[in-house]
């Protein structure tokens, strides 16, 4: 089967690796890696943020109409447009917006005059809480299932896990969310079906509010992790070094947890890392269903009202998170892959 892609990172051969001092080598690799990443991330970021910004210009909403409602005369509209800098060319506006954003100023909402950055500061922790909890659940549940399945490859348990994962991947999160609400808020009224309280205010209540949406959100990721981990682990466990370890008398448990897992972790962590931005920027329906005042909900409401600065601000933050996560993930990939290759070589 022909390799279907370009070669990945050109590997340094063993001789070269030893030749230079380790610290310098690491610094050079990090530097080039970072440089390469930046060369990609920066233009991508510019284009996607520009698209986001330009989207607002298609709207026929304007701050005067939004605020003054029916009292807005064309003169008022023109004046407020000038005040908000909306009568300048698009590129100029974009440049002003993006440079201000780098200083933490994302403009103010046309409707509430609350600075967008403040609204995001208030709502982002909700998304982060939800994402963190969902990731934790996915890691624990998915990890356990994946490891257990890999230890008994081909067994009924293994096939059951695979089947469950396949099913879990096809059920939409909002359907799961609805089911959870019916079971845990209606049938057995033990958990609230909506609302939020910050962790700093009341940790127990925080957990009670978040557990259902986190479960709904995490199911797909759990299935992914379970499946990915199982496949990688099964593959790794067949590798020579594992047999070698077992021959040398190490217990299976030790082999699995200390050696095999570390190698199988790579792709799994990639899955995780790649999903994080999805979870943060994309938990729109879950947040709406469970009434969580998160950033996705903020964007939804802003989109309904055509509160353009808020839409632009939240999309910018979401894009930034995605780009950051990608740089991180690719950095991790660079680190993990060469190691994996060298070990099995």
């Amino acid at each position: 089967m022909v390799a279907l892609l370009e070669p990945a990172v050109p590997l340094a051969g063993p001789a070269e690796a030893v030749a230079r001092p380790v610290a310098l080598q690491w610094a050079v690799r990090f530097g080039t890696g970072l440089g390469r990443a930046l060369a990609i991330v920066v233009p991508v970021g510019l284009v996607s943020t520009f698209v986001t910004f330009a989207l607002g210009s298609f709207s026929n909403s304007n701050p005067a109409a939004a605020v003054l409602g029916d009292l807005a005369t064309p003169a008022d509209i023109a004046r407020m447009n000038h005040q908000f800098g909306l009568d300048q060319p698009l590129l100029v506006q974009y440049w002003q917006w993006i440079t201000a954003a780098l200083h933490g100023d994302l403009g103010t909402s046309w409707f509430t005059t609350i600075p967008v950055a403040d609204s995001i500061k208030q709502t982002l922790p909700v998304d982060l809480s939800l994402t963190a909890l969902a990731m934790l659940i996915a890691l624990l549940l998915g990890g356990a299932a994946g490891i257990a399945a890999a230890l008994r490859p081909g067994s009924r348990f293994d096939r059951a896990v695979t089947a469950l994962c396949a099913i879990a991947s096809t059920v939409p999160a909002f359907v799961i969310g609805i089911g959870l609400i019916i079971v845990f808020s209606v049938l057995l009224p033990v958990l609230p079906s909506g609302g939020y309280v910050p962790f700093t205010e009341n940790p127990v209540q925080w957990l009670r509010f978040l557990i259902l949406p986190a479960l709904a959100l995490s199911l797909d990721l759990t299935a992914d992790i379970a499946r990915q981990l199982r496949n990688s682990l099964v593959g790794t466990l067949r590798e020579n070094f594992v047999t070698g370890a077992e021959v040398r008398g190490l217990s299976r448990r030790r082999v699995v947890f200390r050696h095999a897992l570390r190698n199988a972790a790579g792709p799994t962590l990639t899955v995780l890392g790649v999903r994080v931005p999805q979870l943060i920027g994309g938990a729109v329906i879950t947040e709406t269903l469970f009434n969580l005042p998160g950033m996705s909900k903020l964007t939804l409401d802003a989109a309904a009202q055509q509160d353009i600065p808020v839409i632009q601000g939240t999309l910018l933050v979401a894009i930034t998170i995605v780009l950051l996560a990608n740089v991180l993930v690719n950095g991790m990939l660079v680190r993990l892959r060469p190691q994996a290759r060298r070990r099995s070589g």
Partner: protein, 543 residues
């Protein structure tokens, strides 16, 4: 007369506005269609589903369930609506009056039947020609910041409402020529033209007294930190999330406020409202008619209170096909209001052909059955107007499910071929009220403190809910008569009801039903008062 809403305000910066951007408009309520499902453009809800399944009641309540009464203290968590601004002068939604009434009071307040009764003022008296009204203020009142609430403060507050460049109530106070404070407990208001509606006006946003210390220091701050004199005072506020208030010991009527703390939250999604109350997240909230049975089955108390909210269709008679008045009249007969009430609100609303509900002073009994459902008559009228084969019509709405669908089907029986057009709630003001570009729209009117204000909005030349911008001289004359009639005169109800009758018959607005305020509460909350206008909490206890 403080009628025209047409003055263009010149503002320098964006006003502090919350989630509902409309200015005293019909799209005032953040949940457009009470009694049915969805909230605006993006709607989501989950029904409690509790009726069929539930055994136990809520779990983590903050107050234990007991057969209440007699004790003071406790917290009430109310799911209703937050504000567009905590400053009554820059609040852009009429619906804010409910929340604002928690922290502000005017010279008067409205009782259960929406009649003006004493509040900060213990009494008032008009002079003979209705151009001057003298309010006697209660002595020794203070604002929550300690400033004395005397006649001078009231004077400054009223003048601010009238003169402040960003004031959205200026038009309401335009008729006030001067306010004077001859002594600390007397406020004299001089009017340009005779107007006996001032006591009504002073009960709502237009009359809420704001601390001059606060607005002289930093007016913009008031939008998030109100300083007034009310049953409660605000201690914490997170926009779109919630507000926390505590009892204001120095409230003039504090002896009737039995709650220590008050928490105000946005209205729960109509479908999860019952679950929210059950689980203890809220103690009291508005629920749609469809949830009444579920709420009762879940062990909650439900009270169905009449309110001034009315479901109505805005008709623009400058747009086809309504340019012919016969078509507008045909429309009134083409709506099966009873079926709508039964389906939309599960029978809890009341069919109404006029803006005011029964029990309100402006409700005219001669309008019963005025436009009873009669598709045959509607068809005849359409034929007379030159449309024997029916006519095409676009119905504009922000929430397409439910009422618009039902209307579409009903109107078809009379020959109206309706197409439903959905517009986002935020654009509604722009499209409907600025551009007057739609022929027919689904709307709700939430009422005003003064019935004359209501007339202006619904039927006036500059009326927001009169997109055709046309009115008849008979209506103007009838309104003028009302304005010139003292509120306590026996002629007042007569004149007002006559004006209602004239307006309803002359204008194309299609009133469908009076929408009640359906409140579900936990068993440990005593019944709350039934107020046609702003909800008040005197007498409410939580045990």
């Amino acid at each position: 007369m403080n009628t025209s809403v047409g003055t263009a305000l010149s503002v320098d910066t964006a006003l502090s506005v919350g989630t509902a951007p409309s200015v005293h408009t019909a799209f005032e309520k953040q949940t457009p269609a009470i009694g049915f499902g969805r909230r605006g453009f993006f709607a989501l809800g989950l029904a409690a589903g509790s009726a069929a399944f539930l055994a136990a009641c809520g779990n983590d309540s903050q107050a234990s369930v007991s057969s209440g009464g007699g004790k003071d203290g406790g917290t009430l968590k109310f799911g209703w609506a937050l504000v567009t601004s905590w400053d009554p002068v820059t609040s852009s939604a009429g619906w804010d009056v409910h929340a604002l009434s928690l922290v502000y009071t005017g010279l008067t307040k409205l009782d259960e039947k929406a009649n003006a009764v004493p509040a900060l003022a213990s009494s008032w008296k008009y002079n003979d020609d209705g151009r001057q009204v003298t309010f006697t203020l209660r002595p020794g009142l203070t604002f929550s910041d300690g400033t004395a609430l005397d006649a001078t403060a009231v004077k400054k507050s009223i003048e601010r409402g009238r003169d402040y460049e960003k004031s959205l109530i200026a038009a309401q106070l335009a008729n006030i020529k001067a306010v004077s404070a001859p002594n600390p407990t007397t406020v004299v208001i001089d009017l340009s033209t005779p107007d006996f509606q001032v006591p009504n006006l002073m009960a709502g946003k237009s009359g809420h007294v704001v601390s001059p210390t606060a607005f002289e220091k930093d007016a913009a701050d008031l939008a998030t930190k109100p300083v007034g004199h009310g049953p409660f005072q605000l201690t914490a506020y997170v926009p779109q999330a919630g507000a926390k208030l505590v009892r204001f010991e120095k409230y003039w009527d504090a002896k009737n406020i039995h709650l220590d703390k008050f928490e105000l939250y946005p209205a729960p999604e109509p479908a999860t409202a019952v679950a929210a109350i059950q689980s203890g997240r809220l103690d009291l909230a508005q629920i749609p008619g469809a949830q009444v049975a579920a709420a009762k089955a879940a062990g909650l108390e439900v009270q169905i209170d009449p309110s001034l909210v009315v479901s109505v269709l805005d008709v623009n008679i400058t747009k086809a096909p309504f340019t012919d008045p016969k078509v507008a009249l045909a429309l009134k007969y083409a709506v099966d209001r009873k079926a709508i009430v039964d389906t939309e609100s599960f029978g809890h609303a009341t069919v109404n052909y006029q803006p005011f509900p029964a029990g309100y002073v402006g409700h005219s009994t001669e309008l019963e059955d005025l436009y009873a459902f009669d598709p045959a008559k509607a068809k005849t009228l359409l034929a007379e107007a030159g449309h024997p084969d029916g006519v095409d019509l676009t119905l504009t709405t922000t929430v397409p499910e439910g009422l618009p669908e039902q209307l579409q089907s009903q109107l078809a029986q009379s020959g109206f071929r309706v197409k439903i057009e959905t517009i986002p709630a935020a654009q509604a003001t722009q499209i409907m009220y600025i551009q007057h570009s739609r022929a027919l729209a689904v709307d709700q009117f939430a009422g005003r403190e003064s019935p004359v204000q209501a007339f202006q909005v619904l039927f006036g030349e500059q009326g927001l809910m009169n997109p055709g911008r046309q009115t008849s001289p008979e209506i103007a004359a009838a309104i003028a008569k009302v304005v010139a009639t003292p509120l306590d005169s026996p002629d007042y109800p007569v004149n007002l009801q006559a004006a209602t009758a004239v307006a309803v018959k002359a204008q194309p607005n299609v009133f469908i039903s009076s929408v009640p305020r359906i409140l579900a509460r936990r068993k440990n909350v005593t019944p709350v008062g039934s107020y046609l206008m702003a909800q008040r909490f005197e007498g409410v206890r939580v045990s």
